[in-house]
Amino acid sequence: MSRRPEISPARGSGAPVVFADRLLTESVRALEQDGAAAIDEPQAEASAIESGGGFEQRLVARAGALTMAGELRASLRRVDRTAATVVAVLMLLALAAGAGAARAALADQPVNVFWALGGLLGIQTLLLFAWVVLMVNRPAGLMGVSLGGVALALGRRLAGRWHKGAVNAAAIHATAGVFSRGPIGRWTVGSISHGLWGAFNAACLLLIVLMLSAQHYRFVWETTILSADTYTHLTQTLAWAPGKLGFPTPSPQQIADSEGALAPDTTEATRHAWSGLLVGSLVIYGMAPRFLLLGLCLYRLRRAKSRWRLDTSQPGYLRLQARLMPPSASLGIVDDDRAARSMPPATVMSTSAPSAQRDVGPPAVLGLEIGTPPATWPPPVDAVSWNDLGFVDDRNDRRRVLDELEASTTQPQIMVIVTALTTTPDRGISAFVKQVQIAAGCLVGLLLTGGQALRVRGEAQQLRSRVEDWRALAAGAGVPDQRVVEVDLDHLTQTSLVKLADLVGAPPQSPAPRRVEAAFDLILDHYRHWPASPTVKEQAQLHRAIGALYRAEHDAWRTFLRAPVDLTGDVAAPLRAGAQRVTSLLPPRLRVDARWMACGALAGALGCVAAATLLSPVAIAGLPMWTAIGAAVATATRAVKSVDTEAADGETTDSAVRGNALRAAALFALLLELQGRDEVAITRILDQVIAEDAAIDVDALDAARRWLDDVRHRLDLALAKEAPL
């Protein structure tokens, strides 16, 4: 058996990787996989990287360089010795069995030739065919039932019994894993099987020759139902091959003479002939194929072992790839930042000394790299007529604006540059702002629009840092902080209008009075009269009543909700948009809550209805939009509802409908009250106002009142924290 792996103690780097090294690597993997933790030895990894070569070679190098390696090698040798012992013991058993079989075959006098041959060769020939079939078909798992497979399993068990401990277990795991799978497994099993049968046949043959030499045997053949001719043919067929090799074989006459127990004791020549047939058959049909196949198996096993490669896609190996064979390596900084040191300090423009001998004209405005004009252009400020310089995109636009400013006979009261927050501020823009400042010869203000678009893209954090970047750019260009304002021209609010007016120096408007208490009273009043499950129409009445409280700002919140002017034609799209508008304002923690998404969508859709019907009172009951509202709510909640529709479906109880209606109305009232603040502020305030009370049952009137009181209380706290409008 050539199962003994030649373990090379220490390989120099670059030496070819041999089977034993791979086996060692496998045992390291087994140890890391079965053991408590992965082995982390940087020095072994370093030497693996140093050894170079492919991933497998590096894995082998690492395994060889581990401090465990010596211990593992010793353990592998122990396992190997155990395997050799098992095979040796089985060999002895096979020899004994062969001798026993020979004794049994020649036990009776006279010897029935065919009976003896059948006994000695029958089973093993059948098993030989079975082995061939197995080798051709390779059914998974059946290998274990062959003689070799049994030997392997036995060896594994015994090794496990005899050698305890994690290291030994790893060695057993690796050895067993390698020798029981793939080509190596096949040829190992074959080698053991044929080796054992070869030993069986050898012992058998030796004993038979001995017995034939030392004892007198009479050979006969018998039959009851077959004809003598059959036996003559059979004998001759069997004898053909031994005869060719020079074994004496019986002639047809001798065959005929040996029929039956009644035949007289045959001549010496006949006995020799029959002995020759017996021994020859054993050699040709028993021993020879086994030894030939043993040779083949050993040769193929050797080849399989030298061809065997580690499966580097094993998780135990692949996890090391980043360290042993990284997919990339840094080349370092090639071009050091010399310029940063020699960069001239940003020249701060003096804003206090405009080079102005010109008359002061109306405020000027230009849109810098904002592409599609905002919904409201130029920015609407009461009692201000802009000097609109248009939009600036490329070099020609820049030239045109600068020329226009320089050629102008008046100096603008303020030069407002509108830029988009989705744009990253860069030096090109900074340079242009400076140029505009010089050309205009007046104060420059920076108006940052498109905040909502950026918010949709990412998170609030991003918006804040982007605004800071723009402020930094403005500071570099000499624009003071207070003249950098964030106003989303696509979503104008009361606050933004105030901010705008402030920027261009228009008189500020007085803040609106607080009406949320009245709105909440309205809600409670409706709630008291609602049936167990209020219809959408009843809820819409409430929303319109709340809207009426904020009639003065109707235009603002209608724009805010993007509500249609009237509800004719296709209402599904605007209602859905309104629903989305409100849900997008909810703080993130509520946006994953199906219930609050539903409430937000309801508030948005019903708010649209309220906005559209407030000025031109129509009988709400007559409006054809109730399914549209349901659809809008469903769209909003679908995002959160996940697969688990059962929970949400199960919630359509009366109390849930009532609770949601209450929440939606409260949300709507809060939104109207918070009008005039920008979206971030609204979201921030809502986050503080709506507590983690999703589970509170607001079914009972008292509970509803308590909940609303709580909300109002939190609103006071939140508003106190906010800067005054």
Binding site: D34, G54, G144, A339
Partner: protein
């Protein structure tokens, strides 16, 4: 093996994700510095991309081109009065004092472009095509280096991919690559390399070897991940605890131990997966199905966990409060004994299949087997597969913690629990297959060829599920 190393300059406007592209191509989340601010990278930094341990490509990250309008004006100023072609002017500019002061960043980038075989021009596809972009392309075009425009952030809703493509083709650039550095797509990466190949005949072999290497790496990664999951599943399915019928406290303790052991085993699998995909546990966090600090937010045995993944609790276990377990008994109708004390909760399932001698003996002694149920095994499988799919699609430039896809996109069909795959049913009866070791469980044997066979065939199955298209249903088995 002496294919020339390909030199690539990564250029673009500021804050378009040049360093992110570097990180993703390098598979190294630690390269350079990334932020949402402009001009985060202020120097040229190189990185070698290795295939099979060999350097095949040198990538150079450059500072953003910020003032292309100003620079082009400056270049045109240099040209005035004389006839000079583009590259001459660029070289003249690089020698001028402005290249050290006003346009220092641009000069660095252009210097790198001039010495590179190809330039990747990174575009934030969410931007509109502006004058400054046109001028950038104009300047780069004068450098006489092939340019492959790379559209980044294409996974965003407001990406204007077709607009950009149209514009780039007007600028005579037709080999445009789409490559989102946050949402990784291996097909896009391969296309990017292919686009580079079309422009670079001399480097065809190099690029081919790179493509081949990346493809192999990914296949190995998927296989290894599937192996890890299959290993976990076999461990969990084969794991059983023996409890004495008469002892209620013992049964409760066993239940607790079983629960903890399986959770710990799942956690080990998650750790291994994260390590394999080179992500740290800090990268994972999400609102929907959270992995927080490398841990699943929702306990494996929480009833909602099953629902969240669209798995119906099957069989007798569904009725119980102690969901996720089954008790196997000798005969139907045998008294649950003390186990009923845990809760009339636990449903009983009659053990079937082959019993080994030792098991029979233990049962004969009045012991009962306690193990996790099929639905929980399926939940384990589904969770790990989801995690792997999310990890595979995660770019190394992603800065936000890993979040699992929104449940609605998983598209889970609502079917009643199918049977476990044959290999796992087999594992149910081979207690020694489980490597989870604890007092009261069967002892694991170091190596069993049959377990190995089962693992291979199960891993093949898992691998197929992992590789299903992004929007396909994930249902195990």
């Amino acid at each position: 093996m002496s294919d020339p190393v390909l030199t690539v300059a990564v250029v673009g406007h500021t804050n378009t994700g040049k360093t992110s592209l570097m990180r993703t191509l390098m598979r190294d989340a630690g390269f350079g510095e990334i932020s949402d601010h402009p001009a985060t990278t202020r120097h040229v930094e190189g990185a070698a991309v290795l295939a099979n341990g060999r350097k095949v490509m040198a990538l150079y990250d450059t500072p953003g081109l910020e003032d292309s309008i100003g620079l082009l004006e400056h270049l045109d100023g240099l040209a005035s009065g004389r006839r000079a072609d583009g590259i001459e002017l660029v070289k003249q500019f690089l020698d001028s004092p402005q290249a050290e002061s006003d346009f220092a960043q641009e000069a660095k980038a252009l210097r790198q472009v001039l010495v590179s075989d190809v330039a990747l021009y990174v575009i934030d596809a969410r931007d509109r095509v502006l004058g400054k972009h046109r001028d950038e392309l104009e300047i780069l075009g004068r450098c006489a280096t092939p340019i492959v425009p790379v559209l980044n952030f294409t996974a965003f809703d407001d990406a204007k991919v077709s607009l950009w493509r149209e514009h780039l083709s007007r600028a005579n650039m037709h080999a445009v690559a789409e490559f989102d550095t946050v949402v990784f797509d291996e097909v896009c990466e391969q296309r990017l390399y292919e686009k580079m190949r079309t422009l670079l005949d001399a480097h065809e072999a190099t690029i081919n070897s790179l493509i081949e290497d990346r493809r192999r790496q990914r296949a190995a990664l998927i296989k290894a991940s599937a192996d890890l999951v299959s290993d976990l599943l076999i461990d969990a399915a084969a794991y059983a605890m023996f409890v004495l019928m008469g002892e209620s406290s013992q049964a409760e303790a066993a239940l607790e131990r079983l629960r903890n052991d399986v959770c710990a085993r799942e956690q080990r699998c998650v750790d291994q997966l994260l390590e394999l995909h080179r992500f740290s546990s800090g990268d994972c966090d999400s609102e929907a199905i959270p992995i927080e600090d490398g841990k699943w937010g929702l306990d494996l045995f929480a009833p909602e966990a099953l629902k969240q993944f669209g798995i119906k609790a099957g069989g007798g276990a569904a009725t119980g409060a102690a969901i996720g377990f089954v008790v196997e008994m000798m005969t139907a109708g045998a008294s649950l004994g003390a186990l009923t004390a845990i809760g009339a909760a636990i449903g009983g399932v009659i053990g079937a299949g082959r019993s080994h001698g030792r098991r029979l003996m233990r049962r004969a002694q009045g012991e009962t087997e306690l193990r996790i149920d099929d639905a929980t095994v399926r939940l384990l499988a589904t969770r790990q597969i989801m995690l792997i799919r999310a990890l595979l699609r995660r770019g190394h430039a992603a800065q936000q913690p890993l979040s699992m896809p929104q449940p609605r996109r998983w598209n889970l069909p609502k079917v009643s629990a199918p049977k476990l795959p044959l290999t796992l049913q087999q594992a149910r009866n081979r207690l020694t297959w489980s490597r989870i070791a604890s007092a009261g469980s069967a002892r694991h044997r170091p190596f069993e060829p049959a377990r190995q066979e089962a693992l291979s065939s199960l891993a093949k199955r898992v691998g197929e599920i992992i590789q299903r298209p992004a929007d396909a249903a994930i249902q195990f088995p």
